[in-house]
């Protein structure tokens, strides 16, 4: 059942640097995120351990958009937490820009939107989005804040407090907050989960547009196959418990990808293929 993770990664395409490959002979795109032979197991007490990730390999090139796709509980969020440095791998190596993951966070160059929106309940939408400026001890660029409020469609809600917002609106605030410092690396954990289908597609479009402007290295966790294919350069499909790389799909459809691309035969074929791969996993469970 388990294909070799390393093989799939190597077949995975242009921008991917194969895990464990020797230093580039030609100047390949710099590797922004690297997880090498990572195993992550959690201590559940009473000498029970739960292995969330096993022998996991992933490499994201600078400026690349990679989507992680997999059944829930397969370790997608764990991968993201390892890349933020919030979690330490049990074994293996996690590098961001060739350094320990926490370094990027300390230098305020990491943008993250977790599954939980984690907004400050006493702050307005505007203040919540400005928070990263304050934590970086930089003067708040209000023009940038307001631009992002426009981008995520929250004009008119600048002064609203989180409890006055719907779940989807809170998530959009969290996305704006993740983007506000123009980070070098962007990590998004099911950021559109609470959105209705229409808003979700619109936000997908906005994210694609922002990404095409800046080419931020992005790792997106999702269980929406279409979203993954629409946005990503590569889609990594994970197996369930413990999480491994089942398949890496390169998506080389031209950008900008508009909504109508989702109806093209090529797009549907990729989506169907990936959906089948996810289904295999469900049947196995």
């Amino acid at each position: 059942m388990t294909e070799s993770a390393t093989d799939t990664i190597q077949s995975g395409g242009s921008a991917a640097t194969a895990a464990g490959s020797t230093a580039a002979v030609r100047p390949a795109p710099a590797e922004a995120i690297a997880l090498r032979n990572v195993t992550m197991s959690f201590d559940l007490g009473r000498s029970k351990r739960m292995t969330a990730l096993e022998d996991f390999n992933l490499s994201v090139a600078e400026g690349e958009f990679v989507a992680l796709l997999g059944p829930s509980g397969c370790g997608k969020s764990t991968v993201l937490r390892l890349v933020t440095g919030l979690e330490q791998a049990t074994s293996g190596e996690v590098l961001v820009e060739d350094k320990a993951p926490a370094d990027l966070a300390k230098s305020h160059r990491l943008g993250v939107a977790f599954q939980e929106h984690a907004l400050l309940p006493w702050s307005s939408v505007r203040e919540n989005i400005a928070l990263p400026f304050r934590l970086a001890r930089r003067a708040v660029d209000w023009q940038r804040v307001d631009e992002l409020i426009r981008l995520v469609g929250l004009v008119g809600f600048e002064k609203a407090r989180p409890r006055q917002l719907s779940g989807g609106m809170k998530q959009r605030v969290a996305i704006a907050r993740a983007l506000v410092l123009s980070p070098d690396v962007l990590l998004l954990d099911e950021p559109f989960g609470a959105l209705d289908a229409v808003t979700r597609r619109r936000m997908n479009g906005e994210l694609a547009r922002i990404w095409e402007e800046q080419h931020i290295t992005t790792l997106l966790v999702t269980h929406d196959v279409e979203e993954a294919v629409l946005l990503a350069d590569r889609v990594v499909v994970l197996t369930g418990r413990p999480g491994r790389v089942r398949h890496v799909q390169t998506v080389d459809m031209p950008r900008p990808r508009h909504a109508d691309i989702t109806r093209s035969a090529e797009f549907r074929a990729v989506v169907d293929h990936l959906t089948d791969l996810l289904d295999v996993d469900r049947k196995a469970e």
């Binding site: 919030l86 966070a105 939980e116 984690a118 400050l120 309940p121 006493w122 990263p132 934590l135």
Partner: protein, 250 residues
Amino acid sequence: MIRRSRLAGLLHLWPIVALVLLWDVWVLANGYTSIVAPRPWSVINDVVGNPDAYAIDFLWTLAISVGGLLLGMLLGTIAAVLISLWAPMSAVLTPAALIVRSVPVTVMIPIIARVFGYEVYTVLVVTVITSFFPAFVLGLSGMASAPASSRDLFVVFGSSRPASLWRLRLPYAVPNLLLALRITAPLAVLSAMLAEFLIGQQGLGYLFIVARSYMEIDRAWGTALVATMLSVFAFLAARFVERRISPRFT
């Protein structure tokens, strides 16, 4: 609308009216002389008729209560902050706080007086000690109530420890600290009174002893009446502050 709400406000005063009436009935039914227990009217008369006799001691107790309350809560909050910044501090502060908490104030006061002397500021020390613990415990649990996802977020955005404290944990502790204020405010008045009664040379507690020793029964009971009002007022003021500010932080 306004008239009706005023009426409702007056209705809230029914326990006081009932208390005064019961007091009078109790005195009459038992046939107490005014030496044993005065009737409420003569006590109220003494307070209303001689505000000067109460004013200075009232203001004194008010100042000591408020000062001790704020200082004690500040120290309690600082202790909680120290622990949240540096966990090993807990091993030092928590046992001390628990000991202070489990010894009754009445027992503590003579000991404190021995240590600090029979001075005015000893009364303040007693009030500070009373006010310390609620702010300490509730402040600590308030700071711990900041959700894990928010704490993670602050780490990921490279927040410094002071910034996490100031922008995340302390704001999360505000409703709890205001709750501590409401709980502590009447207690602070009570412990200030008690300390004045036992060691003071000023304040309502002291006025009570003096009046009693001169057999000024109306004055002694009047002191109790004024102290009760002060205590109720302290509670109402704290609750007002809590209701105004707490919703902004939740």
